[in-house]
Structure formats: structure tokens, C-alpha cells
């Protein structure tokens, strides 16, 4: 169960996993920074520190293993639940449509949507005016011309080492990470959904055509009567 398994998990589980990872990473960085401050650099630290670190890592490993198992089980359970929920939603929607509940819900939703639009507009206006006021204030306070006059752009540019910057950014790593983030599974799913719809359409048309052909054959050859209305060919 590697990256392949992670792709099959539901989005909520994936997000939770990523949040947990970020949290643990942040905590680890903090701890390491603190111990680095306490112990002088270049020194490995006493045996207590080593053993403590080893135990902490072992606990993290245990947590990771347990988390992975739990996630696998959760994903296994989530799939049928998701399917059942979607079936329930569909049939519930059709029942609601038939009983007229849907119309009422639609009306309420429209009212709610209008209200929300108004809220958003008000918030946007407020934000915009606050922004304008603060920018105007900052521009009035700053003397840009004087600051620019003191800056020697050529010297700065000459000092920049582009190769070092590129090395530091780590372009290959970045590209790899971007490729990892491209959700190939979703793309495949979407295109296969389109193919499935086309297949269903083809099956419907084929079977309806076969119906017509069979009825026409029975009417004309076996029963020797005029074709029924369902199998009449267009004039």
C-alpha cells in the first residue's frame, strides 16, 4: 500500500493525513530547533538524548504504521458507505421530486442564496474601502522618491548569484512535487466516466434498434400482418 493506495483513499481521509503530517513535521522542527539551541553545535549530545531521540522516532514509526492501517480500514469501509449514500441520495431526490418537497427546498435555497450574496457584497465593500484607506495612508506616509534615490540597483544585480538561487530552489524537486500533486486518478476517472456514458447510450440505441427489427420480423414474416406502431419506419 504505497502512493497507489493513498490515491484510492477518499479526499477527507487524505486531507486528514496531510494535516497530521504537517503537524508532526512542525512539532519535530520545533523540538530539533530547541535541542539545537540547548546543546552547542558539533556535539552529539549525551546518551540520554540519543536514547530519547531513538524512542521518539520509534513512537512516531508506530504511530505511522497504526495510522496507515486505520486509514486502509477506513477507506475499505468508506467505499461501500459512499456507494450506499449516493444510492440513497438519488432515490431520496426522486422521492422528494415526486412529493413536492423539492420545490419547497428550492424556494428556501433561493432565499438563502440571495441573502448570502448580499452578505458577500457587503463584506467585499467593507474590505475594499478598508484597503483603499490603508493604502492611501501608507502612500502619504512614505517618501518613495527619497528611498529610491539611495538604492544602487546595478550593484544589487551584480551581487546576485543566479546559479546559487536555482540550486537553492531545487527545480527538479519542484517539478517532481508538482507531478505528484497532479491527480492522475481523478483525470482517469473523469474520462472513463465519459466513456461509460457513451457506452450506455450506445447500448440503449442498439437494443431499441434490435427491438424494432425483431418486432418487424415477427409482424412481417411470422404473423403476416401490418407493422405495429412501435416498429413503423419513418415515411
Amino acid at each position: 500500500m504505497g502512493a497507489d493506495g493513498a490515491q484510492r483513499r477518499p479526499a477527507a481521509v487524505r486531507v486528514a493525513g496531510r494535516a497530521g503530517r504537517l503537524l508532526a513535521g512542525g512539532a519535530g522542527l520545533t523540538v530539533r530547533g530547541l535541542t539545537g539551541l540547548v546543546a552547542p553545535p558539533g556535539q552529539a549530545g549525551g546518551p540520554i538524548v540519543v536514547v530519547g531521540t531513538r524512542l521518539g522516532e520509534a513512537a512516531l514509526g508506530l504511530t505511522a504504521l497504526a495510522g496507515r492501517r486505520v486509514l486502509d480500514v477506513a477507506a475499505g469501509v468508506a467505499m461501500p458507505v459512499e456507494a450506499a449514500a449516493s444510492v440513497m441520495m438519488r432515490s431520496g431526490g426522486s422521492v422528494a421530486r415526486r412529493t413536492g418537497v423539492a420545490r419547497r427546498v428550492d424556494r428556501l435555497a433561493r432565499i438563502g442564496r440571495d441573502e448570502q450574496r448580499r452578505n458577500e457584497r457587503m463584506a467585499a465593500d467593507l474590505l475594499r474601502s478598508a484597503w483603499r484607506r490603508s493604502v492611501a495612508q501608507a502612500l502619504a506616509d512614505a517618501d518613495v522618491e527619497a528611498a529610491l534615490a539611495g538604492v544602487d540597483l546595478d550593484a544589487i544585480v551584480a551581487r546576485v548569484d543566479v546559479d546559487a538561487v536555482v540550486e537553492r530552489v531545487g527545480v527538479p524537486e519542484l517539478v517532481e512535487r508538482v507531478l505528484d500533486d497532479v491527480d492522475l486518478g481523478r483525470i482517469v476517472r473523469e474520462s472513463s466516466a465519459g466513456m461509460a456514458a457513451e457506452t450506455v447510450d450506445a447500448v440503449r440505441w442498439r437494443s431499441a434498434g434490435a427491438d424494432r427489427a425483431l418486432n418487424g420480423f415477427i409482424d412481417r414474416v411470422v404473423l403476416r400482418r401490418s407493422p405495429r406502431d412501435g416498429s413503423r419506419s419513418p415515411p
Binding site: A208, R212, R228, R232
Partner: protein
């Protein structure tokens, strides 16, 4: 209004059989899992005597058909094939009508062959329940 022909009906029935077989297998696996949890190994699918299996499946099929036709007017198989069950008024059948159609359908499946002879392409269960299995509007164009 004329109904759908034999090929569409059989194809829809085939899909429904698949759905029901999957449901059957799922029920068996879940029951086996419950028994395994309560009584311990070995894991085994529940074994029913032949008559109990037959009767329970009969009930399952009737419930499936009745519920599908009452709620949405079509079984999953008919949804795939673009068919729907309607009454004379063009609406999906009520619970009683759907139950009658399901009972006749299960008890006398050969009645579907009447679609070959019937002037408006209706099967025996259609005639008894006063329904028609027609094409969805999108597909009807192809049948004409």
C-alpha cells in the same frame, strides 16, 4: 403508447440479475462475517436449505422490483437500458400496481414473450397490472 421490445427487456433483466446476485453475495459475506465475529473461525458462508434460499430470493426479487417501480418507475437494469414503467396516465405505478406487476413477473416470467405477439408490445404482466414498459423520451427517437 407502445412498449419496449423483447431485446431491451431481456437486457434490462440481465443487468438486474447481476445487481441481485451482487446483493446476494454481499448479504452472504456480511452474514458470514457476523457469524465469524460471534463464533470464531473458520469463516464460512451461511448455508441455507434449498427451499429457504429459494423463498428468500423470491421475496428479495419481489421487494426489489416493487420498491424500484414505486420509487423511481424503473429498476437499475431498466435505468441502464433507458426504459421506464408507466400507467395509462403516463406516471410511475403506485405501490399496489407495482406489487401486482412484480408478482406476475416473478411467477410467470414466460409472459414476456407476449411482447412478440401483442399489438402494442406489452407483456402479460403489463396487461395484468395495466402498465406499459416504454422507452425514455431520449431513446424513443431511436425506436421509431
Amino acid at each position: 403508447m407502445s412498449g419496449a421490445g423483447l431485446v431491451s427487456r431481456c437486457a434490462a433483466a440481465l443487468v438486474d440479475v447481476g445487481v441481485l446476485a451482487a446483493a446476494n453475495a454481499l448479504i452472504g459475506i456480511v452474514l458470514g462475517g457476523i457469524r465469524y465475529t460471534l463464533q470464531g473461525p473458520p469463516y464460512a458462508l451461511p448455508s441455507l436449505p434449498g427451499w429457504a434460499f429459494g423463498v428468500s430470493n423470491w421475496v428479495l426479487v419481489v421487494l426489489y422490483l416493487t420498491a424500484s417501480w414505486t420509487l423511481t418507475g424503473r429498476t437499475p437494469g431498466q435505468l441502464v437500458l433507458g426504459l421506464r414503467v408507466v400507467t395509462e396516465t403516463g406516471r410511475p405505478p403506485g405501490a399496489v400496481r407495482a406489487l401486482v406487476r412484480a408478482l406476475v413477473c416473478v411467477a410467470f416470467p414466460v409472459g414476456v414473450l407476449w411482447t412478440l405477439v401483442s399489438r402494442d408490445t406489452r407483456a402479460v404482466h403489463d396487461l395484468v397490472a395495466g402498465t406499459t414498459l416504454g422507452y425514455d423520451p431520449a431513446v424513443r427517437g431511436a425506436a421509431r
